[in-house]
């Protein structure tokens, strides 16, 4: 029988740094909740808003697969591998921090906030060579269907990471339903609702709610309103 866990949006951790406002689905920085450390290999899901003209100064990372999905506005990225890029709304960015990387992310629009998801997945191998990639996604390819945006395979759709993880975005009209099949035993899916209401089997979810489901082969997801959501399939043991 499927196991589930519900994280309502208003129960997330919250940090207000002035220029940065961040909701944490799992323990992060000074938000520590021993009941919310991770969902399998999914360790961080931050829902960030960065003020205009501000950003994250240069800072290090190691041994983590870091995925950023801008939801509004653009972020300027620089890193110690000499990558300079702008991640736009509609893109997905991935960094394998491995043995160590420095980067900065900056909102170069002086007047408008950037909103983006920052997602960290434990790697399946420590101390890999650092790497960076980004991809522009076609929003039309997730209208009333799932769009794979991340996988473990370099030659598959979307970006890839060092973990048996598959991410899908959906943008469904009210009433549309699909069945999601997990890729293999031992995996779980964390659903994060970006906008609107969806139902997973019989569980209703609202905007910014999170819902984990595991010990199952698959589940139905139905849009109760026009809705956008992200499915993150990860190993439960890693």
């Amino acid at each position: 029988m499927a196991q589930t866990i519900l994280h309502k949006a208003d129960t997330r951790g919250y940090a207000d740094h002035g220029w940065l406002k961040s909701y944490h689905s799992f323990s992060f920085a000074s938000y520590y909740n021993p009941q919310r450390i991770n969902f399998g290999a999914l360790r961080v899901l931050n829902d960030d808003s960065v003020d205009g003209g501000r950003g994250f100064g240069e800072h290090p990372h190691d041994n983590m697969e870091i995925i950023s999905i801008p939801l509004q506005g653009d972020l300027e990225h620089r890193d110690s591998m000499n990558n300079v890029a702008v991640i736009k709304n509609g893109d997905i960015q991935v960094m394998s921090a491995g043995t160590g990387i420095y980067h900065s992310e900056y909102n170069s629009d002086a007047h408008n906030q950037v909103k983006f998801l920052q997602i960290w997945v434990f790697p399946n191998k420590r101390n890999v060579e650092p790497r960076y990639d980004q991809l522009t996604l076609q929003a039309g390819e997730r209208h009333n269907k799932l769009q794979q945006v991340l996988s473990p395979n370099a030659d598959d759709a979307g970006v890839w990471i060092h973990q048996d993880a598959w991410f899908n975005l959906g943008g469904f009209d009210k009433g549309v339903s699909v069945n999601y099949k997990l890729h293999k035993p031992g995996q779980g899916v964390y659903v994060f609702v970006l906008k609107g209401d969806v139902k997973i089997n019989d569980q209703l979810l609202n905007t910014r709610d999170g819902f984990g489901i595991w010990d199952t082969d698959g589940f139905d997801i139905t849009a109760e309103t026009d809705a956008e959501f992200l499915l993150m399939e990860v190993p439960m043991e890693f």
Binding site: S27, Y32, H61, D62, Y102, N127
Partner: protein, 101 residues
């Protein structure tokens, strides 16, 4: 009250310095950072550390050797792998280790 001693081993000097600085921002914690296995073992022999963080670049053979050495000296020590290289997971990793049975 004595500080809680935390040993950090990391091959990447800038990340090591960052992690040590972040830990030492907590008045109740005291971090020692080491880049090499030898210096880490020396530091561990000199001071009773409650927690050891295995950071970036420490390969599996070194980690096995360090774990064996540290638990031989101080069986109750909590040894955890550090992920992320910054403030994001650091405090949860340390709190988790300190609260572990």
């Amino acid at each position: 009250m004595e500080n809680i001693q935390i040993l950090v081993i990391c091959r990447h000097p800038e990340i090591l310095a960052t992690v040590v600085r972040l830990i030492n921002n907590k008045p109740e914690w005291k971090a020692t950072g080491c880049e090499t296995d030898e210096s880490a073992i020396n530091a561990f022999e000199a001071t009773k550390h409650a927690v050891v963080l295995i950071g970036a670049g420490v390969d599996a053979d070194s980690e096995r050797h360090l774990r064996q050495t540290f638990t031989g000296i101080h069986p109750q020590v909590k040894i955890v792998q550090h992920y992320g290289g910054g403030s994001g997971l650091l405090f949860a990793e340390i709190y988790g280790a300190l609260n572990a049975q």
